[in-house]
Subunit: 131 residues, 2 copies
C-alpha cells in the first residue's frame, strides 16, 4: 500500500490548513492505492514522524512525501531532508521518498498564473477597498 503525505508548513490559525485538506480530499478521489494524509513542519499536528508512523500502522510499505511549498527554501532543502534521513533510519523496511516541492512543477505554476490573473481581473469589478 502506497501512502502519500502532503507536507505543509503549519500555522497558528487552524483555518490555515483548509486548502491542504481540500487538496488531500481531491487526491483521495483518484488515489485508491492507499491513504492520503497531511503532515506539518511546525505549529500544527501531526508532525512528519507522527504522520509516517500512522501510515505504517495502517499498512503502508511505501510512503511518498510531497512538499506543499511554492518556493523551495530552507524548509524544503534542509529541514525536510534531515527529517527524511531520521525517518529512514527509524523505518528501515519502508520505501520512503520525497518529491520536488509542488511549486517546482511547471503545470502548477501555469495553473497559479491563470488563477492569479482571474482574481486580479475580477478585482477590478469590485469596490476599491475590498477585501
Amino acid at each position: 500500500m502506497h501512502g502519500i503525505l502532503l507536507f505543509a508548513h503549519g500555522a497558528r490559525d487552524a483555518a490555515w490548513a483548509w486548502p491542504f485538506e481540500a487538496i488531500a480530499a481531491h487526491m483521495r478521489t483518484h488515489h485508491v492505492d492507499g491513504p492520503v494524509a497531511l503532515a506539518y513542519l511546525e505549529l500544527m499536528q501531526p508532525g512528519l514522524p507522527e504522520a509516517v508512523d500512522a501510515l505504517v500502522r495502517q499498512g503502508c510499505q511505501a510512503i511518498t512525501v510531497v512538499p506543499m511549498f511554492l518556493g523551495a527554501g530552507g524548509h524544503v532543502r534542509r529541514d525536510l531532508p534531515a527529517l527524511m534521513e531520521r525517518l529512514r533510519t527509524e523505518h528501515p523496511g519502508l520505501q520512503l521518498r520525497s518529491t520536488c516541492a509542488i511549486g517546482e512543477s511547471d503545470a502548477v505554476n501555469r495553473a497559479l498564473a491563470t488563477a492569479a490573473l482571474a482574481l486580479a481581473t475580477e478585482s477590478l469589478a469590485g469596490p476599491s477597498t475590498a477585501p
Copy 2:
C-alpha cells in the same frame, strides 16, 4: 493601466523566488493592460510599499495585490491588510485592491492535487532514497 503585484513571503535563498518569477512571466503573456511584478513580505526586495511605488511611477492608476500563499494565516489576514491600509493612505488616488490568497481558489487546489498525485506516482519508479 492596471498593475498586478504577486505578494509572496520571501526567503533567505534567492532561488526560492523562481517559481514566483515563472508565474509572473506566464501572466505577462496574457495580461497586456499593465505590468505584472513581484513584492515580498520579508527577507527579499522589493517590499510591497516599494513595489507599489514603482508601479505608480510606471503610470498604474489601479493595482491589484494577489497573495501567493497556499494557506491564509497571519501574513494574509493581518500583515497584508495593515500594509494595504497604509498604502491606501499614502496613495489616495490609486485604486488599490487585494484578492483572496491563491490557495483559496478551488481551481488552484484541484491543480495542486493533480500535480501532487503525479509527483507521488512518479516517485514510486525512482530509487528509494531519492531525492
